[in-house]
């Protein structure tokens, strides 16, 4: 399986990553090699195998219950690159339009 240049551009856009022009071809080949390897799964007999999202555990997970711990907003935002009064600061999302 080979990924096309267009595919690579599309997934980079979806993943919010910029691929430098001089890396694109090498990256395309690296990803194609891994996907070609994954083609091996076609040889595996998967009759009767439903997709499993989690490791089969055989044991039910515990009931969800919280113990009342809370994280103060000022502490929660303290590790952000920019914050103020417990809020994250981001660049403008919507341009101001004159009414």
């Amino acid at each position: 399986m080979s990924i096309s240049r267009e595919d690579l551009e599309r997934i980079a856009e979806l993943a919010r990553l910029e691929i430098p022009a001089d890396r694109a071809e090498a990256l395309r080949l690296e990803l194609s090699a891994v996907l070609s390897f994954a083609e091996a799964l076609r040889k595996l007999d998967l009759a009767g195998c439903e997709p499993s999202q989690f490791a089969p555990s055989g044991v039910p997970m515990r009931v969800d219950e919280l113990d009342g711990r809370k994280l103060d907003p000022a502490r929660a935002t303290a590790g952000a690159p920019e914050s103020e009064d417990g809020y994250f600061i981001v660049p403008p999302i919507v341009d101001y339009i004159e009414p």
């Binding site: 996907l35 998967l46 999202q53």
Partner: protein, 492 residues
């Protein structure tokens, strides 16, 4: 006993001295740094964040009657800690400090343990050599030209060369067992859901598990006993109480071990096979019975894993966008360019590769062909293990196909790097526990290991087998690179 010798002690003995009042917790906590680590660390580079002042404060606050009283524990840099930055070996988390301790960290502290520092790792746990770290690589203490394995290479190397008797890592596809094998220490990946992941930075949520390193099987059991069990803050922990591992020294008389020799017929280093055969012979001498059968080749697990894990990673790592944590590209003028510029500059090459692969596997038009197929293969792989455990109590197989490889040998060939996990990945897909056990060094003086895999909640059986191998194994000597030879005691 001088601090020169304290660093050699098993965790259980170090804690016993602190509990009995013969040793101050602060002295125990600092013992590693006063031993050879002071010199070795400059070459090995196992640690990315540490401070004597933080250890002194932690030791002063540590309960003196705990199971780990005063014991220093290096923890992988993807476990959240209040007293050190948590950076996952990545530029994108530069300077980030978590506002809380991970549950496993809180349990360590409650048992008297002291966080020795943060261990180096492949960025976001993606790698098998600890070369993909924004802080530079860790080197193998047995041979500085070789890798310590990964992604938990820092914690594994630190336990190997004597910085601390215990360490924590994380194992998503072998990231504890493979570096344990490369560094000549014990490495346990518990059953999925046995150790809380609250405060473990997520990579592949259906696969991730906190893992443990120790120089002795008994220390591994001690640490597991402190950490395992349900956590109200991690919904994926198993509800029933964790297995009791206190009988880790009960022997293996009457146990059956699976011997899937078709897996190492080709593509596995002859010296690894030799170590495995000696492990099988030792288990037989200890009263266990070998049960030969064929098993599904590991390449299917690798193919499945690199679709499932990358799909989950592409989703989990979407949170790193320059808004909430660490690094932000300051040139961005709008939110979209903030995301793209921050992620492109903040993530290293392997993380970007895996995010792209996972995005592809989940994208419209390819989802069924790749992601759903991989999920179905995962079901099949889980059944293979379940069927194997109808015939035996645990499986014996290699931890790695090769001896520790050289730095730079696989960084430009992602597939070759991925295939170094061929024997470890299956356990993560099936959610079962696995344990890497050190064996005698190779003729060239490099660590070799055997791996034990058991059904869900079989940690007690795996620890018994690891102990049986420990008392019979000749692990050889450390310190070739530093002309300073010593052996870790293994006998009773």
């Amino acid at each position: 006993m001088s601090s020169e010798e304290l660093w050699r002690l098993p965790a259980a003995q170090l804690a016993e001295r602190v509990r009995s009042g013969k040793l101050a917790a602060a002295a125990a906590a600092e013992s590693g740094w006063e031993g050879p680590a002071r010199v070795w660390e400059r070459d090995v580079h196992a640690v990315v964040h540490e401070a004597a002042s933080a250890r002194a404060r932690a030791a002063a606050a540590a309960p003196r009657d705990g199971a780990l009283a005063g014991v220093p524990v290096l923890v992988k840099d993807n476990l959240c800690t209040l007293d050190y930055p948590t950076t996952c070996g990545s530029r994108i988390l530069e300077g980030y400090r978590s506002p809380y301790d991970a549950t496993v960290i809180a349990r360590l502290r409650a048992a008297g343990g002291v966080i020795a520092g943060k261990g180096n790792m492949d960025e976001f746990a993606m790698g098998s050599s600890t070369e993909f770290s924004a802080y530079g690589p860790t080197r193998n203490p047995f041979d500085l030209s070789r890798v310590p394995g990964g992604s938990s290479g820092g914690p594994a190397a630190a336990v190997a060369y004597g910085l601390c008797p215990l360490a924590l890592g994380s194992d998503t596809g072998g990231s504890v067992r493979q570096p344990a094998a490369f560094c000549g220490v014990f490495g346990l990946k518990p059953t999925y859901g046995r150790l809380s992941r609250y405060g473990l930075v997520a990579f592949g949520s259906s696969l991730d598990q906190v893992g443990l390193f120790a120089r002795h099987a008994g220390d591994l059991a001690l640490l597991y006993g402190v950490l395992a069990g349900p956590d109200p803050w991690d919904r994926t922990t198993r509800g029933a109480p964790a297995p009791d591992v206190s009988a880790w020294d009960a022997g293996v008389e009457g146990l059956r071990f699976g011997w899937p020799a078709n897996l190492w017929k080709e593509g596995v280093d002859a010296e690894i096979v030799e170590a495995l055969e000696s492990a099988a012979a030792d288990l037989e001498k200890a009263g266990a019975r070998r049960v030969p059968f064929d098993f599904l080749p590991g390449e299917y697990a690798v193919a499945t894993y690199y679709l499932v894990a990358t799909a989950e990673a592409s989703s989990n790592l979407a949170r790193f966008d320059g808004v909430r944590y660490g690094f932000r590209d300051r040139e961005a003028t709008d939110v979209r360019s903030l995301y793209t510029r921050t992620r492109s500059a903040g993530f290293g090459p392997e993380v970007q590769r895996r995010i792209l692969l996972g995005t592809y596997a989940l994208s419209a038009g390819y989802y069924d062909a790749y992601y759903v197929t991989a999920q179905r293969a995962r079901t099949r792989i889980g059944r293979e293990y379940a069927q194997a455990f109808e015939k035996c109590d645990f499986l014996l197989m290699p931890a790695t196909p090769t001896l520790p490889f050289r730095l730079g040998e696989k960084t430009s060939d992602p597939l070759a790097m991925y295939l170094s996990d061929v024997f470890t990945i299956g356990a993560n897909l099936a959610g079962i526990p696995g344990l890497s056990v050190p064996r005698a060094l190779s003729r060239g003086g490099l660590p070799r290991a055997a791996q034990l895999l058991g059904p869900h909640d079989s940690e007690a059986v795996l620890l018994r087998a690891a102990r049986a191998l420990e008392v019979r194994g000749d692990r050889g000597r450390m310190g070739r690179a530093h002309h300073q030879e010593f052996a870790w005691p293994t006998k009773r």
